[in-house]
């Protein structure tokens, strides 16, 4: 069944002119979206995905210049005057942005902002507009729609805000909805709900969708067809299944391979990384955009290049994805670190740790009695939704925050004090890796100074030449060359910056490394190489990690032990294989089911978690998860704190349910 096309983009080029030169953002884009079809666009950051959506919406910044045709129902949008465009923009074509918090005006009520849309485009009266708004909110399963319209954006959660944004886009029943990473800023459990709603509404209104994301798991859930973008070009398009199973462009294959998916663990495989990073493109460049990072390039890659139809509905500009694999050392397998499950002594024991923020009137319980210990030479993964206290735990261990109550026994010494009261020995032995590498390296210093400083301060190496030698050694370990010594952080890419941060931490051989979402700000291809590096350094140095992440796949890949947190408390703790398999805590189960799968054919059962974690300022008597739990028993969950149930020596959950009900055999 061949449908009518609703959007046709022909030979679209977009250039940005900057002070110094011109940068090509989009080059020769040809895309068609059919009626009722959903197109997913995937690619790393800087590949022009958002620029494409801005070009369609005519939201390009003033230095952006577009050339080509954007045909919406046969009419070229680029030739329309700004006044004519308002007929399309926001009316026939609507867009939802990544960050709902900054797309809603914080000083206007939600109702007012929703009403504006229909009053402007449809000429509705105030009352009609309000009714339409409430209708739209009901479409998105927002329970108390009449109440929500009277609230301000800051009074509702991020997931609700994004639903409001989607409702706003749907008010005029658009023919085409563009979603630019709408769930990236949200928790996985919220993401699932939103993705479901989007697919459902698409069917209901027979809309076409363009869904932009960097995560193929998410794209799989909502798209029929996928377009892969790289450096401003569409390198491959095809159905969801073909793209995943039979990619033809080497970039597509590399991109899919570098995503950590469920079930992949560091003991068995190294992740596939793509060397290098997405470089800016100058106007003069021709040929394959991927050539500089491609493992399978040949001499003809520069010429004879362009999108060709290889099979029905499958277009690709290269077919060398499965060309003979370059034998590389990247895929050598690592030794299994937990040999024979030998118990090592504990390097860190956390005993009844509490951390409250705020004054006596309004206490936020960030950590509410956490007890856990960490073995030498092992990795503890901490996972949970935002606001569950995982970062707070990392910061108290590293000393940036002083715990309110409790003990932190590190090497036999209680270090439950702030950094100022710790000895240099302890400061040296506990290092912290931050989420945003750009902000953790001082932009005024050279890499040599940044890495050398802790050596001078904590190891007492005074000689400059000696330090330089050590810095070069450690740079080599993180795959960076000597030429980086005199560079500054702003001259590096995100992945390189995080490598420098790792080098700084490892330069003084710490015993414990706290990694606070170290790969969340990075692209998947770079995340893979950083994760590989982290794994290698851990084996080599025998240091222990506390690895904090919201991404269960990443946690599962890197950790030996996993701790699942919810609202400042532990839900489940155990060896990795014990935690990700049944029996598990209902919250762990929900988290695992929420992770979007890379493989489009895998069918897993979804558990929808409604709502958001309860208010952390209230004292909770029972189980914190009780309000959202799909296996709630009854009164007992609300009134009594759940008992600690052991499934094995080091696997326990906090739940009232009997082990049998939690999936145990």
């Amino acid at each position: 069944m061949k449908n009518k096309s609703i959007l046709e983009i022909k030979n679209l080029d977009v250039e940005y002119s900057t002070l110094t030169d011109k940068v090509v953002a989009l080059k020769d884009i040809n895309i068609t979206v059919e009626e009722g079809e959903s197109l997913g666009i995937i690619g790393e950051s800087g590949c022009g995905k958002s620029t494409l959506s801005y070009a369609i919406m005519d939201y390009l910044p003033s230095n952006g210049l577009s050339n080509g045709k954007i045909l919406f129902k046969g009419e070229n949008l680029l030739e329309k005057s700004p006044k004519e465009q308002t007929k399309y923009r926001g009316d026939r074509i609507a867009m939802v942005y990544q960050n709902p918090y900054s797309s809603l005006n914080p000083s206007l009520t939600i109702g007012f902002q929703l009403d504006e849309v229909t009053m402007f485009h449809r000429g509705f009266s105030r009352k009609e507009a309000r009714n339409a708004s409430i209708e739209a909110l009901k479409d998105l399963y927002l329970g108390d729609a009449a109440g929500i319209v009277r609230r301000y954006p800051h009074q509702i959660s991020g997931g609700m805000q994004q639903r409001i944004c989607i409702a706003m886009a749907l008010l005029c029943k658009p023919d085409l909805l563009i979603l630019d990473e709408p769930t990236t800023a949200l928790d996985v459990t919220t993401e699932v709900v939103i993705l479901d709603i989007i697919s459902e509404l698409k069917k209901k209104y027979n809309m076409s969708l363009i869904y932009i994301s960097h995560d193929i798991g998410v794209i799989n859930k909502v798209s029929d067809r996928i377009a892969v973008m790289y450096r401003g070009e569409v390198v491959e398009t095809g159905s969801q299944h073909t793209i995943y199973k039979h990619p033809e462009h080497p970039y597509t294959r590399a991109l899919i391979n570098c995503m950590p998916r469920s079930g992949i663990v560091k003991e068995e495989v190294r992740l596939n990384a793509i060397p290098g990073y997405v470089a800016k493109r100058s106007a003069a460049e021709t040929g394959c955009p991927f050539v500089s990072r491609c493992e399978k390039k040949t001499l003809i890659c520069q010429e004879n290049y362009g999108l060709k139809e290889s099979k029905a509905n499958h277009f690709s500009s290269c077919s060398r994805a499965y060309a003979e694999d370059v034998p590389d050392k990247e895929r050598t397998r690592l030794k299994i670190p937990l040999e024979n499950n030998v118990k090592e002594e504990n390097i860190l024991s956390i005993k009844d740790l509490y951390k409250y923020y705020g004054g006596p009137g309004k206490k936020v319980r960030a950590l509410d009695g956490v007890s856990v210990s960490l073995e030498r030479n092992s990795v503890l993964g901490v996972v949970g939704e935002s606001g569950c206290g995982k970062s707070t735990m990392g910061l108290t261990v590293s000393g940036l925050l002083k715990p309110t109550k409790g003990q932190l026994i590190f090497d036999g010494i209680d270090i439950a004090v702030s950094w100022r009261k710790r000895t240099p020995e302890i400061l040296k032995n506990i290092q912290l890796i931050f989420q945003n590498p750009g902000r953790s390296l001082n932009p005024s210093f050279t890499i040599e100074t940044i890495i050398g400083r802790p050596m001078k301060k904590l190891l007492g190496i005074k000689s400059k030449t000696e330090r330089r030698k050590m810095v070069i050694d450690i740079l080599k370990k993180v795959d960076l060359g000597e030429e980086y010594l005199s560079r500054k952080a702003s001259q590096l890419s995100g992945g390189e910056m995080q490598r420098v941060a790792l080098a700084r931490a490892f330069s003084i051989s710490p015993d414990l490394l706290v990694c606070d979402e170290p790969t969340s700000a990075l692209d998947v291809s770079v995340q893979a190489s950083v994760l590989n590096l982290l794994g290698e350094l851990q084996q080599e140095s025998k240091a222990s990690y506390i690895f904090i992440s919201h991404d269960l796949n990443v946690i599962n890949y890197i950790s030996d032990y996993i701790m699942v947190m919810y609202l400042g408390r532990i839900c489940e703790y155990g060896r990795k294989d014990e935690v990700v398999g049944p029996p598990y805590h209902p919250y762990t189960e929900a988290l695992i089911s929420a992770v979007p799968d890379v493989d489009p054919d895998s069918a897993k059962q979804q558990i929808r978690l409604e709502g958001s974690p309860p208010n952390p300022t209230k004292k909770i008597k029972g189980c914190p998860f009780e309000g959202r739990c799909h296996k709630k028993i009854g009164k007992i969950c609300e009134t009594t704190a759940p008992p600690k149930v052991y499934f094995s020596d080091d696997h326990f959950v906090f739940c009232h349910l009997s082990p049998g009900k939690l999936g145990a055999k």
């Binding site: 400061l427 932009p443 802790p454």
Partner: protein
């Protein structure tokens, strides 16, 4: 350096400002050596000469002193004092602002309230009162008093700049490395706040010129016989109808210098802050 030139190319006003500024600096450095008149020399035969006559380029005043010579000599004092004040007020401002912002809570409140009290008094009035008490003003006392009047503003800017960097992870990284407060403030944070601080210094420079000229005009600036532009204006106020040039040219000198410095300061702020 290359980007600075590119910015300059797109910004003709900045070029104009920088040119005027260089002209004044040149005048202050080498002008006196090239002049045929001294600033105290009185040409008894040609009092209130119109500009251009008898070798007096900009005419003479009621005492027969060469207006051009006095303006050139005056540029020395005004540039020196203005430069000194903008530097001193910025350094003191950074010290106070950083201490207040870094330690926060009570220290912050103490310094902020102290600055508020200073700010509540108009700077001109404050300077006049103190200079009046001190009696004859010298380069040193003028510099000091104008610096004190300007310090609250620079301290606030420095504090703001520090606060924007204080939450950065590299500061946290320095903390858990056990660095001292001094190192964190002045080695880790200061280089990253240098943009707004340099902009503030250049803006202060323009304000200082206005302030010194105003104090001269009010008669509490540098004392005669040192030529002072503001003082020249008030001295010749009584003969403005007979010899307007004696007031016009010193005023123009003040205006051109202030405009030049302001244009320069706008340019600096564009390069240092907005383009990042």
């Amino acid at each position: 350096m290359k980007t600075i030139l590119l910015h300059l190319k797109n910004n003709p006003l900045a070029i104009l400002g920088i040119m005027i500024l260089f002209l004044w600096i040149f005048a202050a450095l080498f002008g006196p050596a090239l002049l045929s008149y001294n600033y105290t020399e009185m040409d008894m035969e040609h009092q209130m000469t119109t500009p251009g006559e008898y070798g007096h380029l900009l005419g003479t005043d009621a005492l027969g002193r060469d207006v051009f010579a006095r303006i050139i000599y005056g540029s020395r004092s005004i540039l020196t004092v203005a430069l000194m004040t903008s530097l001193v007020s910025s350094i003191v401002g950074i010290l106070i602002g950083f201490t207040a912002g870094y330690f926060g809570s009570l220290v912050d409140t103490f310094f902020l309230r102290a600055m508020d009290i200073l700010m509540a008094i108009p700077p001109l009035v404050l300077s006049m009162v103190v200079l009046g008490i001190l009696g004859d003003s010298s380069f040193l006392s003028l510099t000091l008093i104008v610096s004190i009047a300007f310090t609250p503003a620079t301290a606030r800017v420095a504090r703001g700049a520090l606060l924007s960097c204080k939450g950065s992870e590299y500061v946290d990284a320095a903390r858990i490395r056990g660095e001292s407060h001094f190192i964190i403030m002045f080695v880790e944070i200061l280089p990253n706040t240098i943009g707004p601080i340099i902009v503030e210094i250049t803006a202060r420079f323009a304000y200082s010129i206005m302030m010194i000229a105003s104090l001269g005009f009010l008669g509490v600036g540098l004392q005669p016989p040192t030529p002072d532009w503001g003082m020249m204006v008030i001295e010749n106020k009584s003969i403005i109808r007979a010899a307007s040039w004696t007031v016009l040219y010193p005023s123009l000198a003040i205006a051109s210098l202030v405009i030049a410095v302001s244009l320069f300061s706008d340019f600096v702020s564009k390069v240092m802050i907005h383009e990042k």
